[in-house]
Every structure is written in structure tokens, then in C-alpha cells.
């Protein structure tokens, strides 16, 4: 059964995506894109919220342990309807960067996010997430307080929602720290944003054993919007103003607004149980693999010995 691709974004986006996809991808092109995604004048979560919402009330605290300024959560008025918003927030100057922990959330951030997801579910208001993070915070305290379980529970909570959910990758989307708020009905991605399993620096340190090989890693990962669209990871690519979103944040927000409105309109038309089911299907489809014939597989798996030969094991 072929499940039809969601049509969010329409012809225009697909045109953009195809144009980008057609362009030759070399290391330096991809690297330039990454620099745009990280540009310090690029609009951040709060910049979009200020432009998209006529009113916004930030909510604080996970009701468990603390409040995490790296993950902004709240409720806002969007096109005269309530909406819940969750997004990582980077900082522009040194002080804010420290305060926002460079947009790297701690477990408290994801737990606050889950609280706001539950709120959205209960009040039946759509959820919009804005993804912009180098990853979840790698710190001893964060580990101690269950960074892994915070992320997994956030993924689960978001995947279970019955309200319409849209994720927008506005800048850098790296690792589980990004995906934790990315399990949405529709995933949109800005033209110059990146979405990747790990930052290029991280990958280079591990795969090339040399963090300096980040450009090479970037070229290998090709974490661009065009590729993410081709792979089915995102449903639409949102064009940016010429030269990048930082050249004209208002126009960037206007463009996001258009795609977001369209996505929410489509999603509102679906019955609520249906959204959850389709979302599950969407994510279960992702990731290609091969399947070889069973007899060949059995050989390849190397299982010749009858298991009964192992009856000398102590749990026999």
C-alpha cells in the first residue's frame, strides 16, 4: 500500500526543493549552508514568536526540578487562534548565550515541553515547535537527571498527541535534542536550515578522529533541506529571503507564516485520532533498507548449529 505523500507546501515548495536537489552538492556548498544555519544574526525562536504571534505567554518550569531557558515554551495567539509553541532558543550575545546554554536543553527543558504538550492536548490547541539546537546539553548533571529518558519520553509524548502538530526546523537541528520536539504531523524546514544526526564537528571527531574535518563530515552528511525533503524527513522546504533569513527576519517570518498556516489548515481538517495514526505511519516509513531472500539470509546469518547442542548452559 502506497501512502500518498502529504501535499503541504504545494507545487512551489516542490519546485524549490527540486531546484536545490538538482544543484551539485560539494563540500563547500554544504558548508556555506551550515554557516547560514548558524549565522548569529539568523532569527531565533523568540524572533519568530514575536513576529508570528499577536500575544504570547511564556510558561516556565517542569514542576519537577527546574526551569530551562534553553527551551522556550508557551501559549500564543496565532491568526486569532490559540497555539502552543515550543522551541530551543540560542543566544545572540555572550551573556544570553550562557543564559540559554547555547540552545542546548537540559532534561528540565524537555520535561517542561512535555508539560506544555499535555496542556495543548487537554485544551485541544495545535502545537508548533521551532527546532534550533546543536543538540541536547552534554553535562554530568543532565545525565544524572536522565537526559536520555527526558528525550525518549518527549518523543513518545509528542507522537501520542491528537492535536495538530507542526515542527519547523529554523536553524540547526542536531541529534536527539532536536528530534525530541520534532515528531510532528508536518515537518517544515527552512531553505538554509540543517537537520542531522550529529553536528559536523561531532561527526568529524568520531568518524575522522579529527574535529577539524567538519567540512568533510558536512559533505558526507549533506544535512540540507533539499536532501531532507528528498529523503522524506521533512514535508516542505520553506524558502528564505535572498541571502538567508538573517537578511530579512520579517520576510523570513512571513514565509514561515504562510507554510505554517497552510499546514495547520490541512491538519485541522483531519479527525483527531487520524492525526495520531498518520503521524505514526509517517515516521515508521522513514529509513530505507534492503531485504535479501530468506535462504541467503539464513546462510549469511551463520546459524548452522542446532541450539539443542547448547544444553550444557547453566540455565538448562
Amino acid at each position: 500500500m502506497e501512502i500518498p505523500r502529504p501535499q503541504t507546501g504545494g507545487r512551489f515548495v516542490r519546485r524549490i526543493a527540486d531546484r536545490l536537489a538538482g544543484a551539485p552538492e560539494n563540500a563547500s556548498r554544504v558548508w556555506e549552508g551550515i554557516q547560514l544555519a548558524r549565522h548569529q544574526e539568523r532569527p531565533y525562536t523568540l524572533d519568530y514568536i514575536a513576529r508570528l504571534c499577536t500575544d504570547f505567554e511564556e510558561l516556565h518550569g517542569d514542576r519537577l526540578f527546574g526551569d530551562d531557558p534553553a527551551l522556550v515554551c508557551g501559549i500564543g495567539r496565532y491568526h486569532d487562534e490559540p497555539v502552543a509553541i515550543i522551541g530551543q532558543q540560542k543566544g545572540r550575545d555572550t551573556h544570553e548565550r550562557t543564559y540559554r546554554n547555547f540552545g542546548m536543553p537540559s532534561p528540565e527543558g524537555y520535561r517542561k515541553a512535555m508539560r506544555v504538550m499535555a496542556l495543548a492536548e487537554r485544551l485541544e490547541i495545535p502545537l508548533v515547535t521551532l527546532i534550533d539546537t546543536p543538540g541536547a546539553f552534554p553535562g554530568a548533571g543532565a545525565e544524572q537527571r536522565g537526559q536520555g529518558s527526558a528525550i525518549s519520553h518527549s518523543i513518545r509524548t509528542m507522537s501520542r498527541l491528537r492535536v495538530p502538530t507542526v515542527a519547523v526546523i529554523i536553524g540547526e537541528g542536531s541529534s536527539g535534542g532536536a528530534l525530541a520536539i520534532g515528531v510532528a504531523d508536518r515537518v517544515l524546514m527552512l531553505e538554509n536550515a540543517t537537520y542531522s544526526v550529529i553536528s559536523p564537528e561531532g561527526a568529524a571527531a568520531i568518524l575522522w578522529r579529527d574535529a577539524g574535518k567538519a567540512r568533510l563530515a558536512a559533505a558526507a552528511f549533506r544535512p540540507t533541506a533539499a536532501n531532507c525533503y528528498r529523503w522524506g524527513v521533512v514535508d516542505a522546504v520553506v524558502p528564505e529571503p535572498k541571502g538567508g533569513a538573517h537578511r530579512d527576519p520579517d520576510e523570513a517570518a512571513r514565509l514561515v507564516d504562510g507554510y505554517l498556516t497552510r499546514a495547520l489548515r490541512e491538519l485541522r481538517a483531519l479527525p483527531s485520532g487520524e492525526r495520531r495514526r498518520l503521524r505514526a505511519e509517517r515516521f515508521r516509513r522513514l529509513g530505507p533498507f534492503r531485504e535479501i531472500p530468506p535462504d541467503a539470509a539464513a546462510l549469511a546469518a551463520g546459524r548452522g548449529e542446532p541450539t539443542s547442542a547448547r544444553s550444557d548452559l547453566p540455565n538448562a
Binding site: 553535562g139 525518549s152 544535512p223 529509513g287 533498507f289 534492503r290 535479501i292 541467503a296 551463520g302 547448547r310
Partner: protein, 334 residues
């Protein structure tokens, strides 16, 4: 069978290696790194690859673990034919496709996870066991798919699911599609949750990154093997990023028990007993699913159908990608 004759030599080669591998214990592991006792490979195997002198837990392969859990009843592998695709045409110091093939040759495994049906001391279950020896137990699309099928299979047969993890996290060579497997596995587990079947997770050394931050931390019961490192970020990353000096027991199973992240630290030799106990406590006469109820079972059938169609379009064992992303592109035919 002319569909497979292209690479039948390669298969023979793999099979030969698998038969003659020394129970998959590298020579240097026979001497305990903690107490320096020496053991024969056979002794090690009989003791579940745990040092009889000091209790040090050596790495264990997926097949070893299945043998340990299933005992003499044996186990039947599920979906042994799934193999990684290479959606990015990824190349680091080596091409991903070569890496995966080498891993298969070295381990005798098709992927970093083995799924099977078995009984643990008389308690039937579906098992999904990761193997760190296969590319660091990393989670790519095949791990995601096998976990999803295991969940559906368990839900359809009203069986509990056992998972053993040993993984460095998401498989970087599959890029952002590997990241998506975190969502896929969590969603699959949730389908099983709705079917009311328990999930027992055993965390082996190491369980880190995207595996810990997805299905591994969502077991109804979570056991950890002694000394296993359990963390989202590894110690090196943390020390480099924050310049914190970490305690030597950072992220260790025993500390994670203290941190409330796991239910118990359980010696591998006691694991079958312990798991059987939990399955016994939770056991109920099999529940009937209402006929025609839209449930995870349909997932399984759909998935299997898709996979079968995909498999047919692949000539032999060639590594041609089943590009399920672009609809309409269904391989080269033959």
C-alpha cells in the same frame, strides 16, 4: 535460484567464517581485564561470558545472549534477511557499504540487532538483541525496522518483548535517517503498549546516544548489567564540551540505579531467571483481540508485504538501494 548466484561465493565465504569463528571471543578477551584471571573460551561461554572470579561482564554477542536466554529450547530468528541500504552514499575513511559488509563478515550477523522468538524458562517472548560488535551496535534503518516488526509481532501474538541493548547510538553513516529511527522505535513500542504487552529492557555495556534516548529508556522494566555505561552523551564528549572532570563511575549502571534510571542492576548469569520471574508475574491467559480491530498487527502485515515486494525487486545480493523515499522508483527490475 539464479537470482542469488552473483554473490554465492561471497555467501559461502561468510558461512565458512561463521562456522569457524572461535565462538566470537577475540583471544585477548579471555584474560579478565579486572582480575587478570585466565579462562578458556568454553569456560567463558558456560559462565555467560562473566569472569567467574570477579564478576566482570565481558561483551556478549547477540547469538550468545539468545542462547543464554533461551537455553536448550533454542530460538528462531525473525527477519534475518534485512540489510542496511546506503541512502547517503556515505563515505568517511571507508565506504559505508564496505563497512557494513565487513561487519557482517566479522560478526556473522546481518545487522546490529537480532530478533527471535524464544522461551525464557518456559515463558514465550519475542526478543530483540543488539550486538555491539556490528558497527558499535549503531541504530540505522534496519535496527529501527526490526524493532518495529518485533513490536508488531509481539502485539499480534500477545507476547512480551525482551530487548537487550548495546549501542553507541544512532548510525552516523545513515545520517538524519538514522536519527528518525529514534522516533520509529518509540512509536513502534507505543503500539505494543496499546496492546497491553510488557517490554523488558536489559541495558548492556555500553548503551548510549540515540538508543538510550529512545526505546532503551522506555521499558516497563529496565535492568542493567553491572558496570554498563548508560548515558546520552559519552564521558569524552562531556569532558570536551563542559571541561567537567567526571567521576570514574559516571553513567555506570550502579549510579544510574541511584539516579532512578533503572530498576535493578542484575548479573547476567541471573538474567534469565529474573526475566522469567517478571514474565511469570505478569502472565495471563492470552487475551483475544476483537476480530477486525485496527491494531498494530496490520502494521506487521503491511510492513512484511512492503518488505517482500522490496525484496523481489532486488537482483541478488547487490547492494542496490530500495529507495522507498521516491515513490515510483522501484529498483532496476531484472
Amino acid at each position: 535460484m539464479n537470482r542469488v548466484n552473483v554473490s554465492i561465493d561471497r555467501l559461502r565465504q561468510l558461512a565458512h567464517r561463521a562456522e569457524h569463528r572461535p565462538a566470537r571471543i577475540p583471544a585477548d578477551e579471555r584474560s579478565c581485564p579486572r582480575c587478570e584471571s585466565h579462562y578458556s573460551a568454553e569456560e567463558m561461554r558456560r559462565n555467560f561470558r562473566v569472569c567467574p572470579a570477579c564478576g566482570h561482564h565481558f561483551p556478549a554477542g547477540a547469538h550468545d545472549r539468545l542462547d543464554q536466554l533461551a537455553g536448550p529450547g533454542g530460538w528462531t530468528e525473525l527477519w534475518p534477511g534485512l540489510r542496511a541500504a546506503d541512502p547517503l552514499g556515505f563515505y568517511d575513511l571507508k565506504a559505508y557499504s564496505d563497512r557494513a559488509q565487513d561487519a557482517e563478515a566479522q560478526t556473522g550477523l546481518g545487522e546490529a540487532i537480532v530478533c527471535a522468538e524464544l522461551e525464557v524458562r518456559g515463558r514465550p517472548a519475542v526478543a530483540a538483541i543488539m550486538d555491539f560488535a556490528f558497527m558499535g551496535g549503531s541504530m540505522g534503518a534496519v535496527v529501527g525496522e526490526k524493532l518495529a516488526r518485533a513490536c508488531d509481532h509481539a502485539a499480534g501474538r500477545a507476547l512480551p518483548l525482551l530487548i537487550v541493548t548495546a549501542s553507541g547510538g544512532a548510525r552516523m553513516q545513515e545520517g538524519v535517517l538514522a536519527l528518525m529511527q529514534m522516533a520509529k522505535s518509540v512509536i513502534a513500542l507505543d503500539g505494543l503498549a496499546e496492546a497491553g504487552q510488557p517490554v523488558i529492557v536489559v541495558l548492556a555495556h555500553p548503551t548510549t546516544g540515540g538508543v538510550w534516548a529512545s526505546f532503551a529508556s522506555l521499558g516497563d522494566v529496565i535492568y542493567a548489567e553491572p558496570g554498563a555505561l548508560i548515558a546520552f552523551s559519552g564521558p569524552r564528549v562531556i569532558e570536551q564540551t563542559t571541561r567537567e572532570k567526571l567521576a570514574p563511575d559516571f553513567g555506570k549502571a550502579e549510579l544510574q540505579l541511584h539516579n532512578g534510571q533503572v530498576d535493578a542492576v542484575v548479573d547476567r548469569r541471573e538474567m534469565p531467571e529474573r526475566i522469567a520471574r517478571v514474565l511469570g508475574i505478569l502472565h495471563r491467559p492470552q487475551r483475544q483481540q476483537p476480530p477486525g480491530a485496527p491494531g498494530p498487527v496490520q502494521w506487521a502485515q503491511e510492513g512484511a508485504g512492503r518488505a517482500a515486494r522490496a525484496a523481489q525487486s532486488i537482483p541478488g545480493l547487490s547492494r542496490r538501494l530500495v529507495d522507498r523515499i521516491r515513490p515510483g522508483h522501484d529498483g532496476d527490475g531484472s
